[in-house]
């Protein structure tokens, strides 16, 4: 059980005792919030003493009487509202003069809630319960925001590294061309130009993937859900990988015995196929095959099977995460951004579905995307 510290600022000893009694053995379970909460009561007989205690060690909740001998409760609220950094506890005002005017002044100065004297133990617990809930949710939100900032920084660091590596390679080749010792050698010249172009292609792909990913995630891009024939999209995507496939003797075939009508965003479907097909060719063996199977219905099934290097179960488990590239002897010289499959996964989710993979090393991989034929309107946000 977690104990929350409640500071009660109240000049009447009998009142302090009553509140202490009502809360000291009170435990709280809240819907949607984990754990059980209890309360430790600390007492202050005046606003001045209360302020001193708060400054020495801030509590979680303050129960503050309105009318106090020296400084009033509302005056103390004013002081607390000015504090920098802002206080992280919540204040509940207790008063015998429960007028609307009092409530407005107190709320303006930052009181979270209001308790009219006299109150029953149940009324007290009800207000404390509500306050605790708000306090815990606020803290959780703050923690998540912090975590998000950290994830963003990590992602940014990876992106910076992934973009600097090809830049450094290209710069290195330019230095070689500039240097009299190597620049006059035709073999060096050819190598430098060819490899620089390859690395620039990789950078371009990374940037495109990043844009796709952020666009999908932000929900900024307006989705245009239109009736389309999925087989047409598949054919166009096959067309675009054909040159590379032919160069390596890889046969790409499409099996779509029935029409596969959908209502979806055309650009999303294009990105989906492009990513799956580029991978199927890239990680294939020379002379291999890529088979695309489409099945229509309420749920649409897209299967892309290759005869490539395949993956172990450990490798497939990590596959759909951002910037995870399966690094081994076989993939070492295959360029990739490490983002393609996380784009595919996000698109599958957005279209009310999922992507799965079956793979065995040295035999090949089959990626299966199952999505709704009528794409859901609402942008589902990732529960990450």
């Amino acid at each position: 059980m977690e104990t929350l510290r409640v500071l009660m600022v109240e000049d009447e000893a009998a009142m302090r005792a009553a509140v202490s009694r009502a809360l000291s053995r009170y435990t709280l379970r809240l819907p949607d919030i984990e754990g059980e909460y209890g309360f430790a009561i600390e007492e202050a007989g005046s606003a001045e003493e209360g302020l001193a205690r708060i400054e020495a060690s801030p509590p979680d909740i303050v129960l503050l009487d309105h009318k106090l001998p020296g400084m009033s409760g509302v005056e103390l609220l004013g002081i607390l509202a000015e504090k920098q950094p802002p206080v992280s506890f919540l204040t509940v005002m207790m008063t015998a003069y429960a007028t609307l005017e009092n409530a407005v002044v107190a709320t303006k100065r930052g009181a979270y809630d209001f308790l009219a004297k006299p109150f029953t133990p149940d009324e007290l617990r009800s207000v404390v319960s509500k306050t605790t809930r708000h306090l815990l949710l606020t803290r959780e939100t703050r923690r998540l925001a912090q975590e998000k900032r950290q994830v963003r920084f990590q992602l940014l660091s990876v992106i910076v590294h992934e973009l600097k590596a090809p830049l450094a390679a290209i710069e290195g080749y330019l230095y070689l061309l500039q240097d009299p010792g190597t620049g006059s050698d035709p073999a060096v010249y050819k190598k430098a130009v060819d490899r620089s172009l390859v690395r620039i292609g990789g950078m371009r792909k990374l940037i495109t993937d990043l844009l796709d990913l952020t666009r999908i995630e932000s929900g900024q891009k307006r989705r245009e859900l239109v009736p389309l024939e999925l087989a047409d999209v598949a054919r166009a995507a096959i067309e675009s990988v054909q040159p590379e496939a032919e160069r390596r003797g890889i046969a790409v075939t499409l099996h779509a015995p029935e029409p596969v009508p959908m209502v979806a965003d055309r650009a999303e479907m294009e990105i989906l196929f492009n990513n799956l097909l580029t991978n199927a060719v890239k990680y294939n063996r020379d002379g291999g095959t890529v088979t695309v199977r489409l099945t229509g219905g309420e749920r649409v099934r897209i299967e892309v099977a290759d005869t490539g290097i395949g993956m172990t179960p450990e490798e497939t488990a990590r596959l759909f995460h951002e910037f995870v590239r399966i690094k081994n002897e076989k993939t070492r010289n295959i360029p990739g951004s490490g983002l393609g499959l996380s784009v595919v996964r996000k698109l599958a989710h957005l279209n009310g579905g999922e992507v799965t993979v079956e793979s065995s090393p040295g035999v090949g991989s089959t990626f299966t995307v199952e999505i709704a034929a009528h794409s859901p309107e609402a942008q589902e946000t990732e529960p990450e």
Binding site: V160, Y173, G181, T182
Partner: protein
């Protein structure tokens, strides 16, 4: 170049970097052996005694470059090591600027950041491999 040709081991997981090192060091008259990672380098070192090694700090394993450098410094005689790093100051890990004070601890003889300029590399090698 006088006497026997000197051998330089280049260890980096970036194919282009290995290529660039080979092109320029061979043009400068050295014999170049490359390895694409810490493991490959260990195997190579079983029957190779390089006169100098150029190692990338961060390969698949974050500390791959360090452990390899450590091994090379323990050999008899110790092999001079030039450590190359692409670690950017943006990530808060800028080794190059701390070079002078920390290179002793890192057990390397020189720290260069990517991309490495040819004349810079030649200068360091000339310093570490006097004729």
């Amino acid at each position: 170049m006088s006497g026997a040709q000197k051998t330089i081991l280049v260890v980096d997981d970036d194919e282009d970097f290995r290529e660039q090192m080979s092109l320029q060091l061979e043009a400068a008259g050295y014999n170049v052996v490359t390895a694409d990672g810490e493991e490959a380098a260990r195997r190579t070192l079983e029957d190779l005694n390089p006169d100098l090694a150029v190692i990338d700090l961060m390969m698949e394993h974050v500390d791959g470059g360090f452990t390899l450098a450590y091994r090379l410094k323990k050999r008899q005689p110790p092999v001079p090591v030039i450590m190359i790093t692409a670690v950017a100051s943006e990530t808060g890990l800028d080794f190059a600027s701390a070079a002078a004070s920390e290179s002793g601890w890192m057990r390397v003889d020189a720290l260069l950041s990517k991309p490495v300029r040819p004349e810079q590399l030649r200068r360091e090698i000339a310093r570490l491999l006097p004729e």
